[in-house]
Amino acid sequence: MPSTGPSRRLPADGETRPRWPLALAGLSLAGAILSAYLWQAKVGAASLVCGPVGDCVTVNASAFSEVLGVPVALLGMLMYGALTGLSLVTWRRPATRLSQYGFALALAGALFSLYLTLVEAFVIRAYCVWCLTSWILITGIAWTWGRALRRAP
């Protein structure tokens, strides 16, 4: 018997699914690819191309690029991967409670990313263009997700 609770609600016939989760899934996927690249560079499997801005090698090699030995880039990849999945679930089932977990995760990512950016500025004194890109990406994802949840009925 199909569930009729709000967490299982499917859009009725003719009702269009919201598009924002699809956009967030795309952004999260981009974030996952970016983090995977930084992770591979961290473990020495890829060379890190920094471009003209900042010093991503110094940042990616600093003590703040890990949490208890786990590369932050790997944590980022897992977070973005989870956000991609949660976005798609939210797209398929807009009223699911999982959407709120997705927002909580994105918000945590945005806050931790903000902290890391402050560490870059005031402790390491070097900037990583890829990390700043990720910060903007996850902040955009969290902001969009939170706004959509506030507007939800």
């Binding site: 020495g44 499997a45 090698v57 003590a63 690029s65 890990e66 030995g69």
Partner: protein, 215 residues
Amino acid sequence: MRWPLTIALVLVGLLIGAQWWNYRQTASVIQAAALYYDQFEVDGARIGSPDAAVHVEEYFDFQCPHCHTASEVVVKRLLDEYVAAGTVSFTYRFFPILGPESVLAAQAAYCAIEMDAFWPYQAVLMSKKGLGNNGTYSRDNLIKYAGQLGLDTGAFRECLDGSESLQYVQQSYERALRMGLQGTPTFVVNGQVLRLSSWEDVFHAVDRALAAASR
């Protein structure tokens, strides 16, 4: 909307707390290592008085598990009991035979020599016990370890990427080959290559060399 915010704040608090705790721990371990080596006379990869009666060398590879053991069981004891007494001096010689990260780690150690920080730096590398080219001694990590020691990471990176460090390691490697060495760790006491059946053999050889020198 309130509970997602609570979850996010708790998660971020845990991550930041764990990172700072680890940062402090690492800093205190490194500081202790630096203080320990401060008591010795150091010249590059050599430690101890240049006038010591006996000179011990170890040809080693940062990725060799027996070298990790030797650093704890043999080198530490040599430093505490012989080098500190001024009777023995000890030198690490690079013999990177276990792949690209062995070479890179040796190059990084050369850069630490150039920056007068070889001993604490090698202690950090040895403590990581990297094996099998799995990223422990990746370029980024080697620079990170230098940064944790307070070395100038920009200059360190330049050295690591430069040809001089590779040349130095290459020369050390070729010297080991010329001596007919085939594995690591290999100990040499006053020019005599030791064939070990136990770690104690190193100390027996050192004691014999000391006895011969005092005659």
